[in-house]
C-alpha cells in the first residue's frame, strides 16, 4: 500500500491510496489555512452552509434523497486542526460499484463537487435563510461544548495553555463573532478559500485508471494557486513562564482534571519515536503507569490517560475524579512521571509499549479514514514514512531514550473542573 501522487494543477494535489479490501470508496478535499482568529468562525460556519444546498440539489432534502439513492453515500464537512493550521474538509464515502447492480461512482463524485464548488446561491451570494439558520445552529453547538464535561475540560486546558497562540484558537469558532457574519462576507471568504488556498484531494479504495482520470477531469476546472506551506511552532518547555493552575466550579458529580505539558520534540526528528513509546508506557495504554497505579492501585479514577499531539509537541493528561481527591490524584500522576524519568520500569514494559504501538499503527491500515489521516499528517510534517519503517524505528528505542525524553516533558497548565461530588 503506497501513496500515489498526482496533481490537478499548481497548489492542488491529487493523492490516491489504493486499498481493495473495503466495501466502500472515499473521496475528500481539504483546503489548508493558517489558524487565525479573525476568520475561524466564518470558516466553521461555511462548512455547515455548504451542506444546505447546491445548484443541482437545492436543499438538504434533495441532497439527502440523492445520497440515499446512491446507497447511502455520506457527505461530511467540517473544520479540523493539524498543528497551527486549520483544514476545511469535505469528504464522501460511498459503496464500491462492484457490490452493486449499478454504477454510482461518477454521480457520487459529482455530489462532492456540487457541495464544494456549486453551492446554492441567491443574488450571487449564499441564501439568506441558510446562513441565518446555520448561524443559530453554530451558536447552539458552541454553547453545547460544555455538555460533555470531559472534552470541555480538555478544551479549556488547551485554551489556557495556548492563549494568544494559533494553537489555542477554537476550530469551532467563537460566539461573539457569529453576529457579524453576513451572506455576503461569508461568500467572499468562501471564494477566497476555494480559489486561493492550497488544496489536497484524496481518493482511497479501489479506483480504476478510468476512475482516476474521471476525478482529474471533474476537478480540472480548479485554478492554480500558490502552494504555500503553513508552519507549526513547536510548544517548547522553555516558553513556560509560570505554571498555570485554573480551577472552575460547576454543578456536576464528577470533577475533571486536565493537564497540559510542553515537550518541544520535533515531529520529524529522531526523538519522536522515544516520545511515542514514552507516552504509551506512561499513560497511553491499559498497562501504563497511570492506569496501573492511579486507577488500579489507588482506585482514584475510572479513566486516567495521557495523549500526545506530536505535531505541536504537547502531552495532555485527562481524568475524572472526586473533588476531594485532587491533590492525591496529582501526587499519583507526578509520582508516576518521576518513576519513568528515573527509569523505574521494566524491559517488559518497554517491549509491551512497542507492541501496543505496532498494533495501533498496523490497525490503521483497516480504515480508509485512518490511512488518509496518516498520509496527510506526513505530508503536512514534510516527512514520509511507511508504517513498517516507523515501527522499525520504534523498535530501536531503548530504556535510556524513554527516560531522556521523559525529562523533556514539562508541566504548563493544570485545569480542574470542580464538581460538588455526591
Amino acid at each position: 500500500m503506497a501513496l500515489i501522487k498526482d496533481k490537478i494543477c499548481e497548489g492542488v494535489n491529487l493523492y490516491y491510496i489504493p486499498a481493495d479490501h473495503f466495501k466502500t470508496n472515499r473521496i475528500s478535499i481539504r483546503f489548508h489555512l493558517p489558524a487565525e482568529r479573525e476568520n475561524i468562525t466564518k470558516i466553521s460556519l461555511l462548512t455547515q452552509v455548504l451542506k444546505r444546498g447546491t445548484e443541482k440539489y437545492k436543499d438538504m432534502k434533495e441532497i439527502s434523497e440523492k445520497c440515499d439513492d446512491l446507497y447511502g453515500a455520506s457527505v461530511g464537512a467540517g473544520t479540523s486542526r493539524m498543528g497551527d493550521r486549520i483544514m476545511v474538509g469535505i469528504s464522501e464515502s460511498m459503496v464500491a460499484d462492484r457490490f452493486l447492480s449499478e454504477r454510482i461512482l461518477p454521480e457520487a463524485i459529482d455530489m462532492l463537487k456540487q457541495v464544494v464548488f456549486f453551492p446554492y446561491l441567491e443574488n450571487g451570494v449564499f441564501k439568506k435563510e441558510y446562513v441565518k439558520q446555520e448561524k443559530e445552529n453554530l451558536r447552539t453547538y458552541i454553547n453545547g461544548i460544555i455538555n460533555d464535561k470531559k472534552s470541555y475540560a480538555n478544551l479549556r486546558c488547551n485554551q489556557i495553555m495556548f492563549e494568544g497562540d494559533p494553537f489555542g484558537i477554537s476550530a469551532y469558532g467563537y460566539i461573539e463573532d457569529i453576529d457579524g457574519i453576513t451572506p455576503e462576507n461569508l461568500y467572499e471568504e468562501y471564494q477566497r478559500i476555494i480559489s486561493e488556498c492550497p488544496a489536497d484531494i484524496f481518493i482511497s479504495g479501489s479506483y480504476s485508471k478510468e476512475d482516476i482520470e474521471l476525478v482529474k477531469k471533474e476537478f480540472g476546472f480548479m485554478k492554480p494557486r500558490k502552494a504555500e506551506d503553513i508552519q507549526t511552532a513547536l510548544a517548547r518547555p522553555e516558553d513556560i513562564k509560570t505554571e498555570k493552575r485554573v480551577t472552575e466550579e460547576m454543578q456536576v458529580t464528577q470533577s475533571k482534571l486536565a493537564m497540559g505539558f510542553r515537550i518541544g520534540v520535533d515531529p520529524i526528528g529522531e526523538e519522536i519515536y522515544d516520545l511515542t513509546v514514552f507516552n504509551c508506557l506512561f499513560g497511553g495504554s491499559p498497562f501504563s503507569k497511570l492506569f496501573m497505579n492511579v486507577r488500579e492501585k489507588m482506585s482514584l479514577a475510572y479513566y486516567v490517560y495521557s495523549s500526545l499531539d506530536r505535531m505541536k509537541s504537547i502531552m495532555q493528561i485527562s481524568s475524572g475524579i472526586e473533588a476531594e481527591n485532587y491533590e492525591k490524584a496529582l501526587e499519583g500522576i507526578f509520582g508516576q512521571l518521576e518513576e519513568v524519568k528515573k527509569g523505574n520500569f521494566t524491559e517488559e514494559d518497554l517491549e509491551a509499549s512497542k507492541r501496543y504501538i505496532a498494533t495501533s499503527f498496523n490497525a490503521s491500515k483497516d480504515s480508509l479514514v485512518a490511512l488518509e489521516r496518516n498520509y496527510l499528517r506526513q505530508l503536512v510534517c514534510g516527512k514520509e514514512e511507511e508504517i513498517e519503517e516507523f515501527l522499525d524505528n520504534i523498535n530501536k528505542v531503548r530504556k535510556e531514550d524513554v527516560c531522556a525524553v521523559a525529562h523533556k516533558v514539562k508541566l504548563d497548565t493544570i485545569y480542574f473542573l470542580k464538581g460538588e461530588g455526591k
Binding site: 438538504m60 457490490f99 475510572y302
Partner: protein, 431 residues
Amino acid sequence: MKFRCVENTRVDERIFFGTHESGLKIYVIPKKEFSKSYAIYGTEYGSLHREFIPLGDTEKVVLPDGVAHFLEHKLFEEEDGTDAFNRFAETGASANAFTSFNITAYLFTCTDRFYDNLDILLDFVNKPYFTEKNIAKEQGIIGQEIKMYEDDPNWRVYFNALTAMYHNNPVKIDIAGSVESIAKITPELLYKCTDTFYNPSNMRLVCVGDVEPEKVAEFVDKHIPKDRVSGEVVKFEVAEPKERVQEYIEQKLSVSSPIFNIAFKETETGVCGEELLKREIETDILLEVLFGNSSSAYSEMYEKGIIDGSFEVDCEFEKEYGFTLIGGESKVPKEVYEKVLSVIKDAKEKGIDEKAVKRAKKLLIGDNLRKFNNVEAVGVEFIKDFMKNINYLDYTETVEKITMEDIMNRLNTHFDTENAVLSVVKPLEEE
C-alpha cells in the same frame, strides 16, 4: 466438532459455524486481507438477568443492581494479583469488555499472534478469581464510572426515557447499578453468577480476520472440557404491562440547551430470529421515511429551527424488550414531540410514499455493506445477532423481502401515539 459454511456472494462474505461438544457456539468470519483480527467471547448475561436459579440450586436469587457489569471488571483480575491486560501487553493486543442489557462480552483486537491472544481470552474468562479485597478496590473505580455517567446528559435522557416506558422490566435499571447496590456485592455472589451464566452453552465465541475455524476449535478444546455440559439457565421474566408509566419525564443538569428523547415502547415482545430482524428493518425503514434526513418532517423542523444536526433516530429490538428512540437537542422539545406524533398519525391515515421506501431500502443496504469494513463492528454485530438467532448475512435479502403492507402493519402496531414518551434534560437555570 464440525463447521458449516454459509456464504453470501453479493456482499462477498462467508461465515463458518459450529457447536463445540461443551455447547459453546463458535463462529468464524474470515477476512484475510485485513491487518486486524478480532475475537469476542460473550455470555448471554447482562443487567436484565437479575433473577435466576443458580445451577445446582433450587432457590431463586435476586441480584443487587450492577452485578453483571461488576463481574466484567473483576474477571480481568488474576489469582497472582496481576490482571489480564498485562497478559495482552505481552502480545500487543488491545483488549476490552462491555456489559449491556443482555450481553457481557470480552474481546481483543490484534495485528499479530491471534492464537496466543485467543489462548489468553479463553483462559482468563474461564478462570474467575474473586476476593473481598479485590472487590473493595473495584467499588472505588466503578463508583467513579457511575458518577461519570450521572453527569452525562445523553445517558441520563436515555435512561429516563426507559424509566418512563417500563414499569417492571429491568431494562430501566442502570447497567452499572448504583454506589449503594454495588456495595452489597460479595465473592460468593459473583461465583454464583459465573457458575451459572459463564457456562459454555450460554456463551458464544466469534472470531473475525485471518483465522482458521479448526485452529479456533483446538484452543476451545484446551480451555473448555468437552464434558462441561450444563443445563439451561433458569431465568425469570418479569411481566410488563403494555402501557407506558408516564408520558413526560424531565431532569435538570448542567447543559447549555435541552436534550430530548422521544420513545415508543414495543408491546409485542418475545420474538426472535428472522422475525425480529424483519421487525428491526421495517422500523428502520419507517424511521428513515418519516424522520430521516431526506424526509419532509426533518426539513421542516430543521428549517424552523426546532431541531439541528444532532437529531437522530434509532431502534433496538431484543427478545425481552424493544423500543424506538428519536432524540437530539432542541430549545422546544415539546414542539418536536407534537410534530413527531402528528407525522405518525398522518402517515397512518394517508399511507407512505413507495418511492421513499425504495430509497430507504437502498440506504439500509449500503449501510449494511459499510459495516463489513470494520472487523470489530462485524464481530460485535454478529455476536449480538447470534444471541437473537439472527444470521447477519441474511440482512440484504431480508430488506428486499419487506413489502409495503409489512411496513404499514409495523407503523400501526409499534408507533402508538397514545403510548409514547418524552424525556427531557433541561439546563439547571431553566424553569
